[in-house]
Symmetry: C2
Subunit: 265 residues, 2 copies
């Protein structure tokens, strides 16, 4: 569908942005849906985020924006309203522009993760989960695991205090949920293992957890998309684990993002 | 070529914008040129123009913007630099974003008109020209006719003082050029007749000049694109004139705009 004067816009704001997979995935989705819309990449530096948002507010045919690194936390203070998921996590990865220019944000890393796992024929319900990472994506996944019926969650992070902080926030939001800092980097005894760090994107990255502790049959999932497979998923497959890559997670999230952006306001 | 994270952006700012032909024309040009760029329509209201420009400055992969109604005059005060054509006319219809965010504007209505006439195998050199209108597009065309060797120019406008003002400005810029307000709405004795008003876009518009005065063999050109042919061009053809429609003018200008936006800065 050619881009015309009637085409609705969705932006993705990030720095860098050239490598982003979201434009191709979301534009392919719009094509399948027959929607006259285009996702365009906006390369925006941290210091320019407020000006960029002023431009989005001023653009009547802009329906929303995906927000990616390094803006996910900074954008929160610049929005007019936040969904519960974004308030909880303290970060936002997608914004809807209401017809009056108000910007409403949410955070779909967690819901996207759960949806992608279900779509692949698995479930998080009843899972004993091990999560590597305590940043924005990890937080979204932690809250979503707690809300969607995981049995227990252990959080491992290089900076232990960040893992403690996230565990306490999840416990506060979902009282009674069994969440704690992991005893170490080994996911022994867990049947759902998630890497929500960025480790794995570079070939010389250390693995984000102790692959020797992966249980055969566990589902091992991670956010990095490239290389395919990552070292972690290759090691997991070699140990007899099921694997779930970053592309499946991103594809599920792209659909949720499009639903959020084009929802009636 | 799919829109990806590497795609460069050009915006077109206007209100309304849905009807604009520029996106399809410029995107088809990018396709022919193999350029990874997309022209996207931004529906921006007059009160929001400054905010929209702040957003353009903040977007590193944005190469520029076409500026259309109602922003062509207002945008001049918001730019960092103006080409001579834009200063002369007091309006701007295309902006280039320098890598440091500076916005440089020019006005290509006149150069686009001359280029399109030449491309159609005609010339403005030596022409005795009749121009209907004294707004931004008319001013661009008037200055370009003076600079590109027309012999004389007569300007007709419903508000006569605007025609007088434009004639004086052209005379000031190109001393010795034979330019004056037309004696009336009849283009008698002229071999180049240009409608640079918006009259003709609606079926019940009056014609912008006295078609009874059109000389057989004269070249009659106009800015309105639809309906095709307009009443003026239909009447001109019936009188044995050659005709030159708005689409040809726009196509030539789109190429000049792309050259300006993607010029090394």
């Amino acid at each position: 569908m050619p881009v015309s004067g009637r085409t609705e816009l969705v932006a993705i704001l990030g720095d860098p942005i050239a490598q982003a997979s979201a434009p191709r995935l979301m534009n392919a989705l719009f094509e399948r849906q027959g929607r006259d819309a285009v996702l365009v990449a906006h390369h925006v530096r941290a210091a320019d985020l407020a000006s960029a948002l002023a431009g989005l507010r001023a653009t009547q045919n802009l329906r929303g924006a995906i927000v990616t690194m390094p803006h996910k936390v900074a954008v929160v203070a610049l929005l007019d309203a936040l969904a519960a998921e974004a308030r909880e996590v303290g970060a936002c990865n997608v914004v809807r522009r209401a017809p009056d220019g108000r910007l409403v944000g949410t955070m779909l890393d967690g819901e996207g993760f759960v949806a992608s796992v279900r779509r692949a024929g698995h479930d998080v319900r009843g899972a004993r989960a091990f999560l590597a990472g305590a940043g924005g994506a990890a937080a979204g996944i932690a809250f979503a695991l707690a809300r969607h019926g995981a049995t227990a969650l252990r959080i491992h992070n290089r900076t232990r205090s960040a893992a403690e902080d996230l565990a306490a926030r999840v416990r506060g939001a979902v009282p009674g949920f069994d969440v704690a800092v992991a005893a170490g980097p080994s996911p022994t005894g867990c049947d759902l293992v998630v890497n929500a760090t960025s480790l794995g994107m570079r070939s010389d990255d250390p693995t984000p957890l102790d692959v020797g502790g992966l249980e055969p049959g566990a589902l091992v999932a991670e956010a990095p998309i490239r290389p395919e497979p990552t070292r972690l998923l290759a090691a997991a497959a070699a140990r007899g684990c099921r694997t779930h890559g970053g592309l499946a997670m991103l594809e599920a999230q792209i659909e949720l993002m499009a639903e959020f952006v084009f929802a009636a306001t």
